[in-house]
Amino acid sequence: MSRFLFPRWSNLLLPTIILAATTIPVYALFFVAYGFSPKTLDVGYQPTQVVPYSHALHAGELGLDCRYCHISVEKAAHASVPATQTCMNCHTLIRPDSPKLAKVKESFTTGLPVQWTRIHKLPEYAYFNHSAHVSRGIGCVSCHGRIDKMEIVYQNSPLSMGWCIECHRNPDVNLRPTSEITNLAFDGTTELSVDERAVLKDKFHIKPSDDCSTCHR
């Protein structure tokens, strides 16, 4: 009867196992933290819209102010997406027969809304309010990025709780005068001194809360 002998190379098993046992948890941790972070999963969501509407053209090149279309952003929690009439202010006269505008024209004649696909969306247990931010010196660019350079809008920020809290604990760097709210090229960190920002903070009485009930109400 022959006895089973472990081959000599099996001496290598022990160091290999130790190596694997130390690196694999680190790897798994990295995988979850990096791969499942909202920065990976949620940022960059860019659905194709039914109308090839371009912010780069309207807000960038033509320089339309955000509030021309998103009329309720300073007054309400919700920043409304414009009604068809708003587009027709110009497009009854500008390229009314363009195939790219067919859906808008159809909506205008039938009275049914254009079916825009929603991009930014918080879970429905979280409360967010645009006017609280926009009228207190936080510009669109801090949360939505350079919309005026986007042909098609995509989500620029993770919109995770950590991201909200990060700014609520240190809002100073994002403050700007209310006149520059929709000026996406304005960078408060380079164009305002620390003192100027402190003055703004005083003026708007900024003291963002991180109580749970602020956002979970």
Binding site: P7, Y27, L62, I94
Partner: protein
């Protein structure tokens, strides 16, 4: 010398190690590129609740709107427009020359008007009101393109607000144009609320005055400065 395991085992080991490098690459790619699909929801928690948010859809209604519009022919309280001065800019059948009594003309009001004018009117009329806004310029080039106006474009030059006819408009008429539009210009009654439209009208009158002023209307102590700074 250490003895090595069989070839196939080494090979499998190297492959497995290399395979570990794939996920980081995939993740880095996902991060760097936009995606037309929303992230998959494994755990719903309370992310989606049986309630309607502004501008969301409700398939129960024929027009699909969860937010209902007013029933045709109804008037909300306080919106009957009985005060024609406030809602139409008309007093006793004539264009009003003053703002409604509830709105005293102050510096704040004019500054508000300036801000709102720059948002809603400057695209066509230009910041100075000369009818040279970006949209007007773009539309006029479309009109004069060599193979005829593209896609049925039929733009009319946005009127200069310093045109003598427009300069003679009463503030009430400017308000009415901002509300209901005029000829090819659409109205902004739905986009701008009533107080802001009055602020805009007041600012337009101010702008007209500023572009058509004589030295007599400048306070004497400021005349030297004007001569130095304005050419």
């Amino acid at each position: 010398m250490i003895s090595l395991p069989p070839r196939w085992m080494l090979f499998a080991g190297v492959l497995a190690t290399l395979a570990l490098a794939v996920p980081p690459f995939v993740i880095a790619r996902v991060r760097a590129t936009p995606d037309s699909n929303r992230a998959v929801h494994l755990f719903f928690d309370m992310d989606f609740q049986p309630k309607f948010r502004p501008q969301s859809a409700n398939p129960l209604f024929a027009d699909g709107r969860a937010q209902r519009t007013a029933v045709a022919g109804t008037v909300a309280r306080g919106e009957a427009g009985l005060d024609t001065h406030l809602s139409e800019g008309v007093v006793g059948g004539k264009w009003a020359d003053t703002l409604p009594a509830s709105m005293p003309v102050t510096r704040e009001l004019l500054e508000r008007g300036q801000g709102r004018f720059n948002i809603y009117c400057s695209a066509c009329h230009g910041y100075g009101g000369y009818g040279d806004g970006t949209v007007n310029v773009r539309a006029m080039t479309l009109m004069s393109s060599s193979d005829g106006p593209a896609n049925g474009t039929s733009w009319v030059q946005a009127k200069s607000l310093h045109d003598p006819i427009v300069r003679d408009h009463a503030v009430g008429m400017i308000f009415n144009v901002a509300t209901n539009g005029i000829r090819t210009m659409s109205g902004y009654g739905a986009q701008i609320d009533v107080a802001d439209r009055w602020a805009i009208a007041a600012y337009v009158k101010t702008l007209q005055l500023s572009q058509n002023a004589s030295m007599q209307s400048v306070p004497p102590e400021l005349r030297d400065r004007i001569k130095k700074e304005v050419k």
